[in-house]
Amino acid sequence: MIGFIAFLISWLMGYYVLRCFKKRDASFELMDIFLIPGLGLGISAQIIFYVLLFWGSLAPVLIIQIHLLILCLLFLYNHRYLPKQSSSFSLSSRSIGVLIAILAVVALMATMLALLRPWGDWDGWSFWNYRAHFLFRAGHQWPRLFEFNMQQQHPWMLPLIILWGWCICGSEERIIPVAIGIIFTVASVGLLIGALKKYVSFFWAAIGGIFLASIPLFMFQGTSQYADIVAAYFILLSSVLVVDLLRSPSFNNAALTGLCLGLTASVKDNSIVAVCILLALSILRLYRSKASMFIKPLILGCVTIGVSVVLMKSFETLNVLNDPYGVSLTGIGDWHKWLLMGRFSLTSLTSFSWGGLWPLALAVLIVQRTRWIREEMGVLVQFLIFYIILYFFIFAASTLGLEWLLKVSFDRSLFLLAPVVIFTMFYSVGSKE
């Protein structure tokens, strides 16, 4: 249980960092509650990465000291320079009760599913937890982790968050990766409800959250200890902030969006692709809407975290001795591959595990197609379409067996988009034109 102190410290840090980005007169919204865990844990992962890099080994005491120091500085800054902020959830006590009930049921379901698989699924233990396990045990030899590559390389946010819990516990407690899965599953549902609440009535927001939680693949994947749920959470967060930025551009909004885009990129390779698309689309839209002065803080916020992602990726590239993965552009022209992908995606997206999400999303996309062109939300539709098309090209170009690749990665690549798809659908249907 002592490991939960780590999460508490990160959340407090996230709260104070978020307050720094709020305008002096702005108050906390429902979405902010669910933004805080991701922001705080993401910053903790950054701290651990830089300690590993500059100290040369995992130093739990130093990591805890740095966390406490930053927390104290943020506390003093917030109480000295920022006015007291109030919450403006604008929710009736009945709605708050419904929200708590939804989150409690999701937490219960997630806990039950997580405890069925205490080691997580295959990549949970063999890749993500293995990395944390290796970094925890290897001392100053931690860079050797990348010397022998049998799996695709990814940025390290999830292993670093696990390490943060283990630093507080002092040992490799099994409950930490399990708890991280549950926290991000519940936070994703909460974030979706909070984000939708900004644009539609609480009724539609709650239905959207329940629909996400009801998708079998979402709950199962969320508790499998993969980084997919962390990436899904951060992609939703970045998407919502990008829409918010386009609707009401401000320096603080742009910097916070940039920071969250940077954190999103530090989760997985898939999320780096998502961030590149989102960043390009938002810069283009800001430029077109004569709000180009906000591009600079957006990029600056993104670069602040992006530096660590570049360092992580270059570290892997420089240290890796063998790379069994490759791409061949000739594969893109092979129509057999496209036929196989078409057949596979049709079967997969209409299966029970997706809970009817994709047929419903396609129907909404067609019926509401005129709205996408006119409104800010169109940026999300463009993002979803570009991401899906890009991944089809990546699958076609991979030198690995396509059938195997589709089987292990197709659903997972689209899983990251599920919360954004639901957000877009419910915004479109629930909001007034």
Partner: protein
């Protein structure tokens, strides 16, 4: 014209959308029910076996070892995607971390972890490596060592 038609029919579209969403929510919860009912039998802490349990007896011998070879008696044309090969290999990696096990060049190192579910004696490896057995477990895992340092 299409957009005007949609705008005027927005309440109806909303009702249809709500109907389908509620239908899918109910259906999704019903199909997940058996899994949730089964999860009553969650494993207790003492029932959870550590990952790579069969490789744990090798830990004391590989404590200060950076690299070791890994070999198995199973063959496959695509070992990277073969669960029967990658499963035990990755479990060994996990259990023996931070020792890195090289699957592609197993005979280049002083130590070799040999895993064979059928408990076959690795005599062919012993001859090839000029090695001796350090430890052999009843679960089909053998740790071999060269008699001399590789040149």
């Amino acid at each position: 014209m299409f957009s005007n038609m949609c705008a005027s029919r927005q309440p109806m579209l909303r009702s249809i959308f709500l109907f389908f969403v509620l239908f899918f929510i109910s259906f999704n919860f019903i199909i997940q029910l058996p899994l949730l009912i089964n999860s009553r039998h969650v494993l207790k802490a003492h029932q959870v076996q550590p990952i790579g349990r069969r490789f744990i007896p090798l830990i004391p011998f590989l404590k200060q070892v950076s690299w070791a070879g890994y070999a198995t008696c199973l063959n496959s044309s695509g070992p990277l995607t073969d669960v029967a090969i990658m499963g035990p290999y990755q479990k060994a990696q996990y259990a023996l971390a931070p020792t890195i096990l090289d699957y592609f060049h197993p005979f280049d190192y002083h130590y070799l972890v040999y895993q064979c579910p059928g408990r076959m004696a690795p005599s062919q490896f012993q001859g090839k490596l000029s090695s001796y057995v350090i430890v052999k477990t009843f679960r089909g895992v053998t740790l071999l060592s060269r008699k001399k340092e590789p040149s």
